[in-house]
Subunit: 126 residues, 4 copies
Amino acid sequence: MSELDVAGLQRRLAEFAASREWQAYHTPKNLAAALSVEAAELLEIFQWLTPQEADRVMEDPDTAHRVADEVADVLAYLLQFCGAVGVDPLVALAAKIDRNERRFPVGRPPGRAARVSEEGDRHSSE
Amino acid sequence: MSELDVAGLQRRLAEFAASREWQAYHTPKNLAAALSVEAAELLEIFQWLTPQEADRVMEDPDTAHRVADEVADVLAYLLQFCGAVGVDPLVALAAKIDRNERRFPVGRPPGRAARVSEEGDRHSSE
Amino acid sequence: MSELDVAGLQRRLAEFAASREWQAYHTPKNLAAALSVEAAELLEIFQWLTPQEADRVMEDPDTAHRVADEVADVLAYLLQFCGAVGVDPLVALAAKIDRNERRFPVGRPPGRAARVSEEGDRHSSE
Amino acid sequence: MSELDVAGLQRRLAEFAASREWQAYHTPKNLAAALSVEAAELLEIFQWLTPQEADRVMEDPDTAHRVADEVADVLAYLLQFCGAVGVDPLVALAAKIDRNERRFPVGRPPGRAARVSEEGDRHSSE
């Protein structure tokens, strides 16, 4: 399918919102809030599961559908947010991976790396 | 650049994590939590802004960089989560847009549509 | 200390914000966003920990301080949100426990209870 | 009512969980995730509202009930989290207000104060 790439999906989302006159709601602040809410809905699926149960979450068809559905919501709001602020998410991620490859020496766990990183930068995720 | 698509970025993220032995941390549950944390960090940029200030957030170069950086973090954890559970995020979003085009009649604001939708479905975002 | 109750802390928070002219920022929507951001910062402490590591999180003094600090932030924004919308959080919680004691039969895990509950109510947490 | 204080509500929540054998689910990590999810559900109520609509959110009885209900959920998981890690939330908040009264000079907006604060501390909320 020709639309199955990020730019094509962004176009479909923009047309969907425009034809329903939802753009007025799709401000950067509202979309950032909605993105955060959808990410929490994805987390909700896992909140009471043991790590072992969480690893098997896709074995149940209903839960698997719910996971895919929340992934779609997160991506939808992320792409719409990026459209609203003019950020290309693929370029942003490629640039971040480039930076991280320079910053994080091989062989450290994320927590340790994050603590080291925080000395020069408040973003623990970098 | 040949890697500037979702599949290529997913490969780079997987190699980055593997070469640092971070895969043990990258369980579905942990990645869902990390995705939610990064989405909140993006929201944090906007939390005290008026809608008008939020619309101009990219005019300040430091804030613009911070926004792009948080977008990259959200996308990174979303792609790594999708890798861990075996969901194709582009397929999931395309399927969701298809469903939403059938479900949401043109001309309703999101809140109203969400309320109607909740009668048959708990996902207010659909 | 005479102020070590919810009403006293709410007064101190209101005076703190008023004397710095922060009330204009403390709208219900902004406070709900800030509450969500702080809750995510608390979660961030735990995101890469195994359940076993998470259970020992207070043994490290720095992490213990960080946990208490994020708890304070969450409670601060919750109390300020409640002040802004006129909800008494203790009354709201007591009423909810009353309802839940009627709704949740003894002996079910939260996930199961949530699923049953969702048949009549979209709030999986009730 | 004699139980309408934080310690009394914590006792009721602990008894509620114990009598349903939910304690195994109530680990610090799971409770931090659940707290974050509930805070996002509160934010969800506001995500598409203008600041003006958000300020009138309690005028609609159904929405007012939903707000109180989400406040109760956030407080419930915050108190249960505090019980699990042994933090007194009122003491933590009182200590934080003490620190903030020393750190934040009167007359700065939160964003500006947060930026200044970040030079010495990564917690923008302090």
